[in-house]
Subunit: 371 residues, 4 copies
Amino acid sequence: MKASIGVGLIGTGYMGKCHALAWNSVKPVFGSGPQPRLVHLAEVNADIAQTKADEFGFAKATGDWRDLIADPEVDVVSVTTPNAFHAEMAIAALQAGKHVWCEKPMAVALADAERMAAVANASGKVAVLGYNYIQNPLVRHIGALLEQGAIGQVNHVRLEMDEDFMADPEALFYWKSEASSGYGALDDFGVHPLSLLHILFGSVTRVFAHLAKPYPTRPTKDGAARAVETFDIASVLFEMGEGISGVMALNRSAWGRKGRIALQIFGSKGSIVYDQERMNELQLYTTDGPGTERGYRTILTAPQHAPYDRFIPAPGHGLGFNDLKIIECHELLNAIAGQPARVIDFAKGLVIERTVHAMARSHEEQRWVEV
Amino acid sequence: MKASIGVGLIGTGYMGKCHALAWNSVKPVFGSGPQPRLVHLAEVNADIAQTKADEFGFAKATGDWRDLIADPEVDVVSVTTPNAFHAEMAIAALQAGKHVWCEKPMAVALADAERMAAVANASGKVAVLGYNYIQNPLVRHIGALLEQGAIGQVNHVRLEMDEDFMADPEALFYWKSEASSGYGALDDFGVHPLSLLHILFGSVTRVFAHLAKPYPTRPTKDGAARAVETFDIASVLFEMGEGISGVMALNRSAWGRKGRIALQIFGSKGSIVYDQERMNELQLYTTDGPGTERGYRTILTAPQHAPYDRFIPAPGHGLGFNDLKIIECHELLNAIAGQPARVIDFAKGLVIERTVHAMARSHEEQRWVEV
Amino acid sequence: MKASIGVGLIGTGYMGKCHALAWNSVKPVFGSGPQPRLVHLAEVNADIAQTKADEFGFAKATGDWRDLIADPEVDVVSVTTPNAFHAEMAIAALQAGKHVWCEKPMAVALADAERMAAVANASGKVAVLGYNYIQNPLVRHIGALLEQGAIGQVNHVRLEMDEDFMADPEALFYWKSEASSGYGALDDFGVHPLSLLHILFGSVTRVFAHLAKPYPTRPTKDGAARAVETFDIASVLFEMGEGISGVMALNRSAWGRKGRIALQIFGSKGSIVYDQERMNELQLYTTDGPGTERGYRTILTAPQHAPYDRFIPAPGHGLGFNDLKIIECHELLNAIAGQPARVIDFAKGLVIERTVHAMARSHEEQRWVEV
Amino acid sequence: MKASIGVGLIGTGYMGKCHALAWNSVKPVFGSGPQPRLVHLAEVNADIAQTKADEFGFAKATGDWRDLIADPEVDVVSVTTPNAFHAEMAIAALQAGKHVWCEKPMAVALADAERMAAVANASGKVAVLGYNYIQNPLVRHIGALLEQGAIGQVNHVRLEMDEDFMADPEALFYWKSEASSGYGALDDFGVHPLSLLHILFGSVTRVFAHLAKPYPTRPTKDGAARAVETFDIASVLFEMGEGISGVMALNRSAWGRKGRIALQIFGSKGSIVYDQERMNELQLYTTDGPGTERGYRTILTAPQHAPYDRFIPAPGHGLGFNDLKIIECHELLNAIAGQPARVIDFAKGLVIERTVHAMARSHEEQRWVEV
């Protein structure tokens, strides 16, 4: 393994900052792996690029992302720009021989996602998507529990993802209500629970979806009302292989919910319940022991739940959302080093995208759709 | 109002006992209303009938329920026998000029439910179903909050009902897995959340359902495996009037869940969350006040939430499941007295039954079905 | 055992009603034991006595409690009057050859409690106090867990009891702030957690207490401020035999707390956590199993936790506060029948009273006091 | 303000790593302030020093911490060595003209803490202790709520701190059970809740403590039993100015507790409840609004709770334990820049130390001790 790796970052919004924090922390946290060199930062506004490069610790700054792609010192490119730019940038980076760490979702249009996956496959480079929720040590532990058969054969799954940033009907119409942004909650949110499903169980085979608009119109600046084109609520029934049925409920207008990604997994010997709003807790019910002592047990993240131990040596002290990105960055570096890595690469990401688009088609055609 | 009312009880299983407890307690709890006279108890086994009559405080006992129906001292009949007998007994009682308090669901076959509603309507007598969950003072308070507009215009509802009495795949095949018992979770459970929907919002207009068998076969006594005919899991999408979309998820094989009836109601100004397993708590989120202080508030039942005050004068001390039946009994007496009453009568009950059957048809035909 | 037992009830406030409900329900719930005959009800106001007798189902009513004591049909007397009357009434009843079921605390003055215990002892009759919280099936199960060694050797206990009925500084001065009512939270509340300690572990040996007044004065009707004479807050350190240390914190001015009686028990192999506000849940942590799966498990009351099964045959459906009184009534009947009974009799009650008075002395003398 | 600041780090255990992470992340997170230059790392083993310097990003490494103190490029020194070394190192650094960021507690002996505070005062340099729990944005918000009078005049406080690293009686005797390590839970834990008390309310005036040994002996390697010299449990009553009474309960042998620091604050208009194990949640109860709608509200950390917004722009996504150290580092830099800073400096730290020693004396003398 090379002693260091050159990093380029495109985008300086929240996800750009989150990537920057991960690149700064991954070596101190994990100790192992190459030392990231923060080489080049790109941002459409050159002044902001320079300011953010100083803040984030990048050596060079540019207002033109193609400079970054062309920089021979850059080995891996973080793409954290709005979704509409993912395809062009990721493809350019891969074709320039860079590894790519691209924020999800892959692209607005399925055709773009398909091109991205094809180019990634042809490139021989690592192309990974930013599905950070799968990196929670407790989500990893759910996977271990399922593999060990702790809850037997799984037969039913429920997922919910809810936030309230679209909950205020008085908030002005903005691009998230335009059809050009996608379907709404379905693609804005759905990819997250689907990433959990994918990492824990594999692929969804069949979907039935219903999309809804809690507010048919939203006010505009001039006091008029504009018809909403996206669906802030999506409710989906699905099936996976091996006899698993499921329900996925998404709502980005859910007053009171802030970062809820709730998971209920039912098996023949127990069940598992998880909610991202309490990301350091896992609920496990098993049929072991006497009936008088059975109940959901609340497991707090502990050093035994790797890689929590790389962050904190004592149990129950809590990881944060940004820590998940550091773990993701470490997994990306594992992938680049040719080691086993827990990532959603472009090929798997494409499966998730196809599932989302199948759901949208199901809603339109009011029928079950095979993925 | 008559100073007393003569009570007949058919059935001495759990629900029979629950009715008996309610009849014994309704006057001491509420103080008002007629004094119930426990006149006649019927149970197919005459010996058990006598024993239970002594325990429950009934004056007479019989092994033939028709004796009870014919008893002129009986004014109201509690029907708590297995579902298959509801129609015959309720109809006979109504035709004999008795009021009827019948456990839910109305009947296995829709045609029977329709007959029951028709006879009730023709009789001029009060005919009420045992939907006790609607009697929780906190469920009543949810209704009050909705009416006051505390969470604005409701646009989305999620309901879950889960228990685990069918969760063990090693449990022997019994009648709940036979098609003659009904569809499975759909009618066994679905009527409960539907009773909450009905009392809070009105009728469901359109449904799409998917039924699933977690265990395709179950063992029999002789060591063989018998094909399961009912669906322990049911997942339903639905719409109500006024632009409300919803999801209803039912699972009677949900390890770890004991009496979960979880309700999430999202509106334009807030949301309400409730779970029957913590039946003395209500979660309310509103958009009042500064953003720094917003959050779900956990409201404990208090004397202000009538009729909790009839049971306990201090807040937070907790009602139990059986108390709901006492409230239901009081509402029944209100109905008999011609006063406003919070009940699901046979007419409303029939709407619930039709909704369940529409869901079953939706599953078979794999399409949305209008109710 | 006699087939029936004659019941007299003195007092028709909340606790009077609670006893009446228990007397009405104990036979239908438990099936076994004598049939209570509701013979005589006493209440200082004769009209109210008659009204309540009708509501509660008592045959006779009187404005003079001595009539009731003299009634030969009465076998057992429920004393539910204000604390100041307990001693006189209980003693008179015992001396008249009745069994006594007296609400706690025994008496305001220690000397009265001592007399009550002495008379009870001499009478040969059953004399039981209304410590209902010990009757919760989950509290009983905590006892079973401790006996089984589920959490090893107990070494530390924390108890909290908090409500908020004295929390409002604007509320008018009333008798609970007068010294004649007792010490304040210490006796008003302290007896409850002490009853739990007593039933689970035995006696407290040594105490150190600090009493506090959150509001030194309270307003009076005429707009003046009157000095508060009682302590709404009490904080106590204590020791029990066998090396158990403990903390007991009481606050009847604790805004937001409604019926909190929180218990934390730490042992050499695990711990138990309980809160009366969620009286149907128990938290158990044990060191069994792999470290990755350890956590507090939330056990919901189930039929295996007797006598929950006498109320409800399905787990997780929930008992209420009033149900505890029915269980207490059943235990009283067991005691009267000469069978093993889970009760705090006058002898044990006196130990609790002495412990409370020792705490008060500790506060005054600012030193550890042996009980 | 200088554009950059030279950092020296002594110690590479968990707290050393935690400081290193904070120094790496503080500029990318906050954007403002000087750029930390990671200059010099000291660790008694020179090889480990070099390895950790590479991992953490420090330019130089040494096996002799005095090299680091003598390094003119170093402006601020992080002291993260075992408690016994704090005094010597912090004093040397201050005397060499460096700012100091020293982990808590200050020192084992009170005299050392007093010297540290005196030297810090004389030096004119910034000397700050690592009390990270005060940096939680929700703890900061508790302070804001108290200042706004959201819960009125505070009259009672309860604090608990519990972990279970000393809970196993079979674990071999090690230095934490030796008297040379201090009193036990009292100083190991007590300083944390005291830092919260200090930042929220000010100083404790009077204490009464009771220390306990859950396990009088612990096994040694050779199979013998050695008498335990420290107290794993400490229970304290206290008073603060302005009529606030309190209870502080500490237990480092509390099976099941992992990072519990539970705070209950009662005021004349409401109450606040917090538990570090759910560090992204705050419970607030106020008396506003109708009685039917009152309850504890669970507030999730949100961007409005500064400086959460510097980490994540969306509410409810969760900070982690290590993030608190980044905030602390930022406050340290504020202090160095002469700006208002939320820190426990050596002067305030000394007050905390004195309070702990007063508690120990109270236990020995079994009396209230003024601080």
